[in-house]
Amino acid sequence: MEKLTVSPSPHIRSEATTSKIMTHVLIALCPALLVSAFVFGGRALMLTGFCILTSMIWERLFNLVTKRQDTTGDMSAAVTGILLAFNLPVTLPYWIAAIGTFVSIVIAKQLFGGLGHNFANPAIVGRIVLLLSFPAAMTNWVVPFYDPQDIVTSATPLANGAAEYKDLFLGLTGGCLGEVSAAALLIGGCYLVAVGVITPHAPIAFIATVYVFSQLTGRDGLYQILSGGVMLGAIFMATDYVTTPITSKGRLIFGIGCGLITCVIRFWCSAPEGVSYSILLMNIVTPYIDMFTGSKPIGAVTHKEPKERKGKKEAAE
């Protein structure tokens, strides 16, 4: 007879794995991808595919160079690739996109130890680096249904403030690839909540804060949440496990913080959009949020011994 295997309990595990979770995120991003392909044409698909491919390649190369286990199987590089692509204008040259995925995968993620150890959302870091390095190419927005032979650029609805709610909701406006259609992003978000991949705390807190804060300061709240990157950021980036708080309470605080910073940047800074900066800044304070929002153990007795002891000692003396 073979030897029996002995291991600590539990002896069974759930079917959930990191790669299955990431695959769910990829599925949830599909509606927005389809809308962008419809609005911006085939190049939207090409650019997204290019970003996914280069992200996987950078990840594999980094694993090879550092002689680490191959981690492309966890699909997180694909998610980062598609999220970065969603933050790019459709006209962006491929070589710039490749730099973006390099920054995201190698610098923001792998150099910190890979998935689980990065402190900031890789796609956000990639976008910010590209935005600061190639400001012109990164803000070269085109009108929907553009003719590739005769590119007409337009300001994003966020900058010019002139678009119908319906167009913003459906995505028939200019802007980054994936952020144009609030409807498609919401469908993806609902899917993620339904399959239990994300909790709705951070997205709702984020979107509600932007709405309320805009209304309070005399702006059009609905316009603010439908335009720009609020939906994409709130649903897909403020819910990234690794870089956001681990408890529901922490996620609420994270969402509110993101909403406030987004509004402050949008309304009073020179930059038109603040979603990525707000998420990056909140990523940085995530460990502190975690520190103060830990779950409370049930039935725990909190000891106030030092004080009592001191009292007793004094009494004894």
Partner: protein, 434 residues
């Protein structure tokens, strides 16, 4: 308020079958350590003749109860045996004569008050039959001046997958269960009793609701099927709404929690005087040919149980004593059945049944928070693991590592397949060490 819980595949395929009675094996090995607490000291010598129900081990220590023989025959050896926790104890080996002669001293005890109940329960060798194995007489011997017990909680949740031994007890022996509840309730003067049954056992719920229809002070509590519903703290909370605080016992909160099979056994003992010499257990798993519930004498060796269920030991990869969530791996087919053993589960390699995955490669924690949402006690396994890895005793104590009951929910839900429950156990020891 709800406590966290997870949903597990039930796999209760053995629930329909009547309990099979195992014929007396040729040889039994009766361990002197049957439960939590001190092991007994053998009272017999090699060569002694023993009979069914005869006391063969006992000890003066507080946390212990006697061990009786479930067979008649001759003591052939008294050896040392290594237990799952690494400690060793004596094991009495008896060659059975097959006659199952009952010991002359078997008489029903006379129980009139709490004191005589505690004494009788100790003599019966009774300990919790649900798995943890707390000696029952200690549970019943609470300090009357300090605590007023108002609720007797009968734990019939049986939340672990596969195991159906308590379910069969309820279906085959319901009158004994109900009489046992009434008896204990009356002797101890407890106002009400609650029988907590998970809603994946609708027949048991219906049967008990019917049988208890006229009783105002014994209620059936339909529990959601969620793991670990049968953990003492969890079932006590759902039955009474009270939270058993760190460092206190259920009795400090006016509650006694008893397993349903334990209650039935006590009633049987009061009637007949036959001590704890055999029990029902579930034998299941994909390596078992004839999965069923078996009643077998304490001390029956695993290999005999496998032979009885027509199971070929060659194809077995892993044997678990207890449920798949909290059970202990068995490494030896000579392992004897003990009082706390509610199941032996045997699995082929690779251990992968539909809906269940067993071993997979560990990856980095992605901070998804599933373990925190799974922990019934609101602990943070991911944070505990990090604190243990960096050797931070202070953080472990602050995060209340001592509350972990090793239910395994955190490891089960982890998508990175990290061994969180195992780390918690290591961390518990580490936090206590100086």
């Amino acid at each position: 308020m709800r406590l966290n819980g997870i949903s597990l595949p039930h796999k209760k395929g053995t629930e329909i079958a009547e309990t099979a009675v195992m014929p007396c094996p040729e040889k039994v090995r009766i361990s002197m350590s049957q439960h939590m607490g001190a092991p007994g000291i053998p009272l017999v010598k090699v060569g002694d003749e023993v009979k069914v129900g005869q006391k063969i081990g006992d000890c003066e220590t507080f946390m212990t109860c006697p061990v009786h023989s479930g067979v008649s025959g001759k003591v052939t050896a008294i050896n040392d045996m290594v237990l799952a926790n690494g400690k060793s104890c004596k094991v009495v080996e008896i060659d059975c004569d097959g006659k199952q002669t009952v010991w002359e001293g078997i008489t029903p005890p006379s129980v009139t008050d709490k004191e005589s109940l505690v004494r009788a329960v100790r003599e019966s060798g009774c300990c919790g039959m649900g798995g943890a194995g707390f000696p029952t007489h200690i549970k019943l011997n609470y300090n009357e001046e300090k605590c007023h017990i108002d609720t007797l909680v009968i734990n019939a949740a049986e939340c672990e997958p596969y195991i159906t031994s308590d379910y069969r007890e309820m279906m085959e022996n319901s009158q004994n269960v109900i009489d046992g509840i009434k008896f204990i309730k009356n002797i101890l003067g407890i106002e009400k009793a609650v029988v907590g049954i998970e809603d994946n056992k609708p027949k048991a719920i219906a049967l008990f609701e019917e049988k208890l229809a006229g009783e105002d002070d014994i209620k059936v509590l339909r529990l959601k099927s969620s793991y670990p519903q049968g953990a003492e703290k969890v079932i006590a909370f759902y039955a009474t709404g009270r939270i058993i605080m760190e460092g206190s016992l259920p009795s400090d909160h006016g509650i006694i929690v008893m397993n349903v099979s334990t209650v039935a056994f006590i009633n049987e003992y009061i009637k007949t005087g036959m001590p704890f010499v055999s029990r029902r257990l579930t034998i299941d798993g994909d390596a078992v040919n004839h999965a069923c519930n078996v009643r077998a004498p304490i001390g029956t060796m695993l290999k005999d149980l496998l032979a009885f269920t027509d199971t070929n030991p060659d194809g077995i990869h892993k044997i678990i004593s207890g449920g798949p969530m909290m059970g202990i791996g068995v490494y030896d087919l000579d392992t004897p059945l003990c009082k706390t053993n509610n199941a032996f589960l045997c699995f082929k390699k690779p251990v992968s049944i539909k809906g269940i995955v067993v071993s997979q490669n560990q990856t980095h924690c992605i901070r998804c928070g599933r373990c925190i949402k799974a922990c019934p006690l609101g602990l943070m396994p991911a944070a505990l693991e990090r604190a243990y890895d960096r050797g931070d005793r202070e953080a472990l104590n602050k995060l209340k590592i001592n509350l972990c009951m090793n239910c395994g929910s955190c490891s089960y839900v982890c998508p990175a397949k990290r061994d969180l429950a195992e780390k918690n156990q290591l961390a518990k020891g580490f936090a206590l060490s100086k």
